[in-house]
Amino acid sequence: MLRYVIRRLIQMVFLFLAFLTVTWFLLYILPGDAVALKYAGNPNIPPEAREVALQRLGLDKPVLIQFRDYMVNFFQGDLGVSFNQYPRPVTEIIGERLPRTLVLFLAALVTYYWAGFLAGKYLAWRRGSRGEMLITVSGVGLYSLFLPFFALMMIWLFSVQLDLLPISKFLDPEKWRDAPFMANEVFMRLFWVTLTAAIAMFAASFAALRTNNRRLERTLRWGGIALAALWFLFYWFGTPSGQDMRVYAGDIGYHMVLPVLVLTLINFGGVMLLTRSSMLETLREDYILTARAKGLPEGVVRDRHAARTALLPVVTSLVLAVATVIDGGVITEAVFSWPGMGEILISSVISEDIPLAVGAFSFIGIMALIGHFVVDVLYGVLDPRIRVTEHG
């Protein structure tokens, strides 16, 4: 297992270098003068920034030196300075935005994968191949909904018509006028508490997957959820710093509901369809018949035998879907003005803030690479065939 992870890690490092090279190639080599024109010709750029930028570009230097400088700068964390927020370094802006994107993205990912898997599982189990047409069409319909339009309809319904949820942004400035905290401070706290709770839950359900004892499995699964919920409640209600921040954290959470809902619904259909067909396939396997012949209760046959194996193709699809999911996140952020990586990417592109745009894109790419790596490792954990052949 360790060797599998290490191999993947080395592959990832190479892919990352290739990614940087491709990005550089794309932006600096192919249309060298076009970029220079954008840099120099943009009247909104502060003059100091223009000089710095032209110097950084070093268009007079040989190509290989340019490439070396770009790589060295990147690894030193120097991505240049934003034009619009001059003289803030790009890395600083990204450092502020990245957690916000991660939170939104992870919350949606966990929700829709879980919901899609559950729905697909039950649809396959309950109805076999009946209602095929309806399920497929609604699944594909959800999957190919035009995201900005759908987000718009959801905002219109929940925020304009029903007035239940905020229209956009990640907090309500009115509430924060006298706040004793920086928004990001609260946000990071929210991030860590949620992350630890999620890790506890994940670890418990992972242990539940690995155990053979059914009673222990159930205890672990529900215990994990209970533990996460308890920790969450304890932090916000039991600790002094949590109590102080609670209102503000709640405001951020409140703003998250709609974007997460939109992302969940958009991606839900695909996961549901895939799980359902994977599960139907699995149900025809001989080991399902064996499990039934062993006299196992139907719930055990469904969850431990059919669903557990049907999970594999679903996780494989996640490997391929990481990029699509990130794309969805970028668009959602733009529509909801959620100040994360996607929003900064689009606004910097529109205002021709090139260093920020390139930096944001590089980090979105890194997110995709890391996501890819995590899913790959997860797959190795779930499928013993991969694990063993790799080190065998």
């Binding site: 892919l15 999957y143 035009f146 339009f149 970028v330 592109v349």
Partner: protein
């Protein structure tokens, strides 16, 4: 399905066994293609999901053809109905009563009042009635889906948007197929370092979030519709499609007729283009459908964000509603957003459904038991 080889050039490498009757060679392939098309159509026809997709595509194809008919027959006057330059000079009006005269420009003026600027005679007194020209105007007999804030017909824009989507989708799909089959077949045929380097590149392209990349490229360069199609085609053709088609080409590569062609002295390019690619092509058509879905959605997103340089598209229609501030007034101005948004969804879903229907032909395991 697709027929890759239509004519044959003089190629000294083509062995005599095949070259005996040079002009009948492509006829044989055409006949084979026609036969497999017939058989596959039989399977496809039973698939309701795929048929539904096909019906929706046909509907949009007719929609896309309509403006030509309307303009040619004089049913639509280009001055009014052109999707870009058209203008309704005589918009419908609504009778209003003057309630309060806004004199102080610093008073908070609501947006609706500001719109009236210049359209109300100065001489009106409180209590007078007047006819307010509506722009955007709701649907009526002349404009079936109303007009946009610039006085242009929505229906006409919708139909022209369908054209743009078809053009983009089909071009992107063709680029995908050409690149995907070529790269996949080359990787499978040569193996070794060629295979490894092409596939690692494909791995990378799969991982790059496409829309984010398109946004960056679109921001740096002036992006035309066909540029977009080509970039999407390259991303999808070199990425996922190439990987899938490579494994298919590997399966074809071990078949005896490839050995036969090689023994007969066929060159690498001959085997790749005359034997591998035509056999991998049907599968690539499946991925073509999914590319079209992705292309239509990406275009709409980029236009919606105002990054794409194009005249008419569904995304652009929503972009206008967005920049003019009508985006959230769905109840009052639904025709500005709903038709365009639904169109994107419907057409891209249709191609996806057809792709799923084809999936059953390609993967017999999925067929109805």
């Amino acid at each position: 399905m697709m027929n890759a080889v239509e004519t044959r050039t003089e190629d000294p490498d083509i062995p005599d066994v095949l070259g005996a009757e040079v002009d009948s060679w492509w006829k044989i392939r055409l006949a084979l293609t026609r036969r497999s098309f017939r058989e596959n159509w039989k399977i496809f026809r039973r698939n309701k999901v795929g048929l539904l997709g096909l019906v929706i595509i046909a509907f949009w194809a007719i929609m896309a053809a309509m403006p030509t008919v309307f303009f040619a027959t004089g049913f639509w006057n280009p001055a009014t109905y052109d999707p870009v330059t058209g203008l309704e000079l005589d918009p419908p009006t609504r009778t209003m009563v003057m309630v309060e005269r806004i004199t102080d420009p610093n008073t908070e003026i609501d947006r609706r009042a500001a719109l009236l600027d210049g359209r109300i005679p100065d001489t009106l007194q409180i209590g007078d009635t007047f006819d307010l020209p509506l722009q955007p105007a709701p649907p009526d007999a002349r404009h079936w889906l109303g007009t946009d804030p610039l006085g242009r017909d929505i229906m006409s824009q919708l139909m022209h948007g369908a054209r743009a989507s078809f053009f983009l989708g089909i071009l992107a799909a063709v680029v995908t197929v050409v690149i995907g089959t070529t790269i996949g077949s080359m990787a499978a045929y040569f193996g070794g370092i060629v295979d490894a380097s092409l596939m690692r590149l494909a791995d990378l392209l799969i991982m790059i979030p496409g829309v984010a990349l398109l946004i960056v490229i679109g921001g740096l360069f002036t992006f035309q519709l066909w540029h977009l199609a080509v970039v999407i085609g390259i991303l999808s053709g070199f990425g996922g499609t190439a990987i899938v088609l490579k494994s298919q080409a590997l399966a074809v590569k071990v078949k005896p007729f490839i050995d036969a062609a090689r023994v007969a002295g066929g060159s690498a390019s001959h085997i790749i283009f005359y034997h591998l690619i035509p056999n991998v092509m049907p599968l690539s058509v499946l991925y073509m459908m999914f590319t079209v879905t992705g292309a239509i959605q990406s275009e709409a997103v980029l236009s919606f964000l105002g990054i794409l340089n194009t005249d008419t598209s569904w995304g652009l229609m929503m972009n206008l509603a967005r920049t003019q501030g009508y985006l959230l007034q769905v109840t009052d101005y639904w025709w500005l957003t709903v038709p365009a948004g639904l169109s994107v969804t419907l057409l891209s879903a249709a191609f996806f459904l057809v792709g799923r229907g084809m999936d059953e032909i390609v993967n017999p395991r999925l067929r109805r038991r």
